[in-house]
Symmetry: C2
Subunit: 351 residues, 2 copies
């Protein structure tokens, strides 16, 4: 395999003409094209919505979850959950770099891939034997392929690997939130983040503040998450509400914002059914940014129409130039945010 397509279409087995993300099956041949990079895989980080679906559909049986993930990778040549349509990311070490690769990587560098596993050719060689099926973090070995038009971040030296990985996994969110908030008037723009205690949620809070939002409201699920955010300084107000209960959610966001909806509402709740609440919680002329992979396109489009809601709705693009550096910068600049992430990802990588 010497000539590659920059977007990886030469790796598509079926259907013909598809791009890798839309493909049923990819070819994970370890031989790389001139512009490809081969990664020696160390760990997969499954997308939250994907892991939740697998865990739920097998009633929490880790062995069954493991068997299904193994089967998906073997059948598809990538870790692309066929139910949720989502994947995740991986970390590993650069193993081989084609002479025409534009990614600037060198063999031996430890990297995280910032493109989804749904389009990354992957072969594992250990049967996932070191994973118990009960965590999104999957230690494994094998190889993965990066195309010319791809993205990988070299892991920073000053942060533990798990922590950097957790940040990079969701780094598109804060970059897009910053952009959306910053183009509105600083003095008046209000932001509500649904699922604010999670990874993309807490980074989005920090990005909204960094972009000079006038008021940032964190919406969390329960008292535990409330306590996690209290005192962090990441939000001006914290509201406990079920994001899937549209009327109550909108009422509580309105209460926190003096009777108005939010100018920017950011959806980071990885469960279905948050579209209508987000729309109702947003002011006329405002913007909803959907980052959750559980978002339903028709529910959002028809919901806004049905509510006669003049809001702009963005599909959260995981790529914004400079997103990895920006997310890591936010973490370094906010000790409270870093503490939240450390509490979340645990101390797993101190070994």
């Amino acid at each position: 395999m010497s000539k590659g397509s920059p977007v990886g279409s030469h790796r598509v087995v079926s259907p013909a003409g598809a791009l890798p993300q839309a493909a049923d099956r990819l070819d994970p041949d370890p031989e790389i094209a001139d512009d490809e990079v081969r990664i020696s895989v160390e760990r997969l980080n499954l997308d939250a919505a994907s892991y939740r679906q697998l865990h739920t559909s097998h009633g929490g049986d880790g062995d069954a979850v493991r068997a299904e993930v193994r089967a998906i990778i073997a059948q598809r040549g990538k870790m692309h959950n066929p139910v949720t349509g989502s994947g995740g990311m991986l970390i590993g070490t650069v193993d081989a770099v084609g002479p025409r690769s534009p990614l600037g990587l060198k063999p031996g560098q430890k990297v995280a891939t910032l493109v989804s596993l749904t389009l990354t050719p992957l072969r594992i060689d250990d049967g996932l034997m070191r994973w118990d099926g009960n965590s999104e973090q999957v230690p494994t070995s094998g190889h993965a392929i990066l195309f010319a038009r791809s993205i990988a971040a070299v892991l920073p030296d000053d942060l533990p690997e798990h922590l950097a990985l957790a940040v990079l996994d969701v780094c598109g969110a804060p970059a897009l939130v910053r952009r959306v908030v910053a183009r509105r008037p600083h003095a008046t723009t209000t932001v509500a983040v649904l699922g604010a205690a999670g990874k993309s949620g807490s980074l989005s809070l920090a990005a909204a503040r960094d972009a000079h939002a006038a008021k940032v409201v964190a919406v969390v699920r329960d008292e535990i998450e409330d306590a996690q955010l209290r005192g962090s300084g990441l939000a001006d107000d914290i509201v406990i509400a079920d994001a899937t209960d549209p009327l109550r959610l909108a009422e509580k966001v309105n209460d926190a914002l003096d009777g108005r909806g939010a100018d920017v509402t950011v959806v980071c709740v990885d469960v279905p059914g948050c579209e209508h609440g987000a729309i109702l919680a947003t002011a006329t002329g405002g913007t909803v940014v959907f980052f959750s992979m559980a978002t339903s396109f028709p529910a959002a489009a028809l919901g806004a129409e049905g509510l006669a809601a003049d809001v702009e709705m963005l599909i959260g693009n995981g790529y914004v130039p400079g997103h990895a550096e920006y997310a890591l910068h936010l973490l370094r600049a906010n000790p409270h945010l870093k503490d939240l992430f450390i509490a979340r990802v645990g101390k797993e990588d101190e070994d």
Copy 2:
């Protein structure tokens, strides 16, 4: 039923707390609340994606399609296709208006509902006996309910009913295209419309021109559609390409735009799998507006990320203030556009 919720949540039978669009089942009780309106239904206009799915899944058997639509309405209290998640719209005559309805309607007015059938309480009383199951247009009788926060357009006197209905069905598209194009620099903004010969597509072409786009490219499926648009003046260039073949599509759009992608790409193709082509056909910093109900949220989000594409992706909101008037204005102002619509909807309502 005397007190209504403006968004219709009092009509939700299950699940509790849902809004009507997300509900499994609505209560189509003909007795209206103070702020509701009852419509005497004359015709349903099924969403294109919904009709296509029904037609395909029954192998084109009209009787089976009819039976399934009847069953959906009976079971759900609304015409909400459970597979596609989409509905359509209806026309009828205002039958009763609650004293606190803010919609400004009067009994006897002929109207089209501009909110989706997926959230409109509906009961039919003729078993769909006048419909052969072989068209999106479903003549029927029965009643439907509009809530306080809803939208209906009084049908204009100067246009045939079928024509007005066809325009109003997709009126959100041109209004949003105008907004997105108009906020970019007039002198340089290029627009590509995928599915340009269809209803929302041809209106989007007209809106892009009206918003002073520098160049408008129509992407159509075949020579027949090419011939339909040729000479209409709606597009500066017409390109024949399969919108589900991303690499070829992007290549052809680039060829039409001197090697660049479009600044604004509008997706009006009602088949799955157009996300990646639309993203690849769009310039860095550009905007993709997805109007097709067949759009997959994860395919768009992960596709853009996987292609490292810095594009903004909008979920096509069917509601923009003034959308009905604007779409009708475009039709009246563009004789060629009107001809296209007439050719499309046929002469059915000359009786």
